[in-house]
């Protein structure tokens, strides 16, 4: 009687274990680092319940069917999207994506930020979280004004004034992380809060960066 009870318990437990294991799931999926210079390597790490398929776009060798838990290194020449798919069959799957951004030696990156009302007059746009992940990777070469008006830009203890369509290399060698502040005056006829005559909802610059290889 007791043996029968135990065997039933084992069968039921095995059944539930089988059910749980049948559910495909992406437990974790990451690429580290996910910002690199051209030619550097990244490590893709995954933990899947179910069968695992790793895709890359553009395609890379060493992708396709992979073990349920594993990691692979890839040397990348261009920005790549990795997709891990956990699957049990055609109808039961889960997938997750991860982009690895690959920078050329010289990159141009915009910093575009919503405008606010400057209590001292005009407009201000403040950005405090510019690409934290790549802050140790990219160094400033110069900055260009991409707004339709003169800007005063403050960053890393340096203040520069840039005319419309102008550029400046006074911030050369600084890292991109940290606060960026942009100030601008209103143009004639612009009225804050008037939808028909409002100033722009954003100010922007373009930062030219050089990629500092880690490897």
């Amino acid at each position: 009687m007791r043996n029968s009870y135990l065997s039933n318990l084992i069968i039921i437990s095995a059944f539930f274990l089988l059910l749980i294991s049948c559910k495909p799931k992406v437990n974790s999926f990451s690429a580290n680092p996910n910002y690199i210079c051209q030619g550097e390597t990244t490590t893709v790490i995954w933990d899947i319940t179910g069968s695992a398929l790793l895709y890359a776009s553009p395609p890379l060798t060493s992708t396709g069917e992979v073990p349920s838990v594993g990691q692979r290194q890839f040397q990348l020449e261009s920005t790549t999207k990795f997709i891990i798919s956990a699957l049990r069959n055609k109808y039961r799957s889960e997938k997750r994506e991860q982009d690895v951004v690959v920078f050329s030696n010289i990159e141009k990156k915009p910093i575009i930020t919503p405008t606010e009302i400057n209590p001292k007059g005009g407009l201000v746009a403040i950005e405090t979280d510019v690409w934290g992940d790549i802050s140790d990777l990219m160094l400033i070469e110069n900055i260009s004004n991409k707004s339709d008006r003169k800007l005063i830009v403050k960053h890393g203890g340096v203040t520069v004034e840039i005319s419309e369509n102008g550029s400046s290399n006074k911030m050369k060698g600084l890292m991109i992380n940290g606060d960026w502040e942009m100030y601008a005056d209103l143009k004639p006829g612009e009225v804050i809060g008037d939808p028909n005559n409002s100033p722009p909802d954003r100010l922007g610059i373009e930062v030219t960066l050089s990629c500092k290889r880690r490897q």
Partner: protein, 451 residues
């Protein structure tokens, strides 16, 4: 505008959770329709860019019909982020869709799906209907929030809830909705459902299991064969909802992350049915719309039309929701017309009241207020006095979505929980009738270990 008595049948098709630009933005795009009359998408993309961590995210073309990665956020607070009101411009800047998505999603990709818009060949039936009938490019969801409040606005002109989550009952049973309004005036109506009906969520089980609710499979035959005395004057066609218990039919409501092909096929079946009987078609107005934008980007700011609930159950809304794709399919509209009047879902109620109760003072005070605030009736779209004779032919190719159906248990959202509770309650109250109307429901219970 025609004499509205010429309109004998009004059909309402309300799908789920897509924005105007996402589905119909291609109409004006130079690479596709290039129809400058439509306020859709075009170059330069810079004017549409959303911002996240100071980086711009422009719209992009969706080149393949596949299951999307996620659902997109679309509750009240999340939509506030999406609309991104600016004190500087005094307007909604529509620049926070990516931020709202990334705040919720694990997929921080370069092309976040909320900025994607479909190529016309991936939405062939929607494109066909748009090109042959009337596109409303200023049709907004009534409220900047999620499914339930917006559907309640469509069904009655009022809502006592401002979001889908965090509530135990969706709607007070005593509140009248369109079905009651029609019954009071002895106007014939019918609901055709491809899956479990939304009305089950309102606990209207006697309706849902009654003779006026029929499977969508019956619709083509009913529309073709029934004579005018039997035919309903107002028809609501419900898709198979992604969030509802799966009882056999493929979900086809277009709720993300569903691929779009299933919904397109559903629209094709509906169109072929309503054009199968030329006499009835010549007296039909069909509204194809979406309950809300579902978190997908749209570039047109909402209308500054406020809404306060009947007993101030929640803080008032200051605006409508974003635009949703809406096409008026009828022989009373010109081919390829584009209507810029302001509409929302209560425009349907205005129109029904105009048509069936012209001597009354509108549908309801709430709907009348929206009318005073600038929301027009669908009658403004009907610009032909007599029906067009030629019925545009739709191509007969079967639309097969290449996408996966998706994992039934992957997502356990609030709507799924609500649908499940409603289904179980319906079975408990009316087991025999429920099994007759939804023959797959017992299998669903067994599969999900609910009995």
């Amino acid at each position: 505008m025609p004499d509205l008595s010429k309109v004998k049948t009004i059909i309402i098709v309300m799908l789920e959770n897509r924005s105007f630009d996402h589905m119909l933005g291609h109409l004006s795009h130079p690479s596709f329709g290039n129809n400058k009359e439509v306020d859709g998408l075009g170059y330069p993309y810079r004017k549409y860019e959303n911002l996240y961590n100071s980086a711009p995210y422009p719209p992009f073309i969706i080149n393949k019909d596949e299951m999307l990665l996620d659902d997109a956020p679309h509750e009240r607070e999340e939509i506030k982020t999406q609309l991104a009101y600016s004190d500087v411009t005094g307007t909604y800047t529509m620049s926070g869709f990516v931020e709202a998505y990334f705040n919720k999603s694990l997929n921080e990709v370069q092309n976040p799906m909320v900025m994607g818009f479909y190529r016309p060949d991936l939405v062939p039936i929607t494109t066909f209907l748009a090109n042959n009938f009337a596109v409303c490019d200023r049709w907004f969801s009534p409220l900047p929030t999620s499914t339930v409040p917006n559907r309640l606005m469509a069904l009655g002109g009022d809502t006592r809830v401002d979001k889908t989550g965090g509530i135990t009952e969706f709607f007070r049973p005593l509140d009248d909705i369109l079905l009651d309004w029609l019954d009071e005036r002895e106007i014939k109506w019918r609901v055709y459902h491809a899956g479990i009906s939304f009305f089950a969520l309102l606990r209207r089980f006697s309706d849902v299991l009654g003779p006026k609710f029929r499977s969508f499979n019956k619709f083509p035959g009913d529309f073709y064969y029934e004579n005018e005395n039997e035919s309903p004057e107002v028809v609501i066609i419900e898709p198979s909802y992604y969030d509802a218990p799966r009882i056999g039919d493929q979900p086809n409501d277009n709720h993300a992350p569903l691929s779009i092909g299933f919904g397109e096929q559903f629209l094709r079946e509906i169109y072929q049915a309503v054009t199968s009987n030329p006499k009835k078609w010549s007296e039909t107005v069909m509204i194809v719309t979406y309950d809300e934008h579902g978190g997908f980007y749209d570039h047109v700011p909402p209308l500054m039309i406020s809404y306060e609930p009947p007993d101030r159950e929640f803080a008032k809304f200051k605006s409508t929701g974003p635009r949703v794709p809406t096409i008026i399919v009828s022989p009373f509209v010109s081919k390829g017309s584009v209507i810029h009047n302001h509409f929302d879902h209560t425009s349907i109620l205005q129109f029904i009241a105009e048509r069936f109760a012209p001597t009354e003072n509108g549908y309801s005070p709430s709907v009348n207020k929206r009318k005073e605030d600038g929301i027009d009736s669908i009658s403004k779209v009907l610009r032909l006095n007599n029906p067009r004779k030629r019925i545009p032919a739709i191509h007969n190719d079967i639309i097969i979505s290449q996408a996966e159906f998706g994992n039934d248990k992957k997502k356990k959202g609030l709507m799924q929980t609500k649908f499940k509770k409603a289904a179980l309650e319906m079975i408990r109250q009316e087991p025999v009738k429920t099994n007759k109307i939804y023959p797959g429901i017992i299998q669903w219970q067994i599969t999900n270990k609910l009995i």
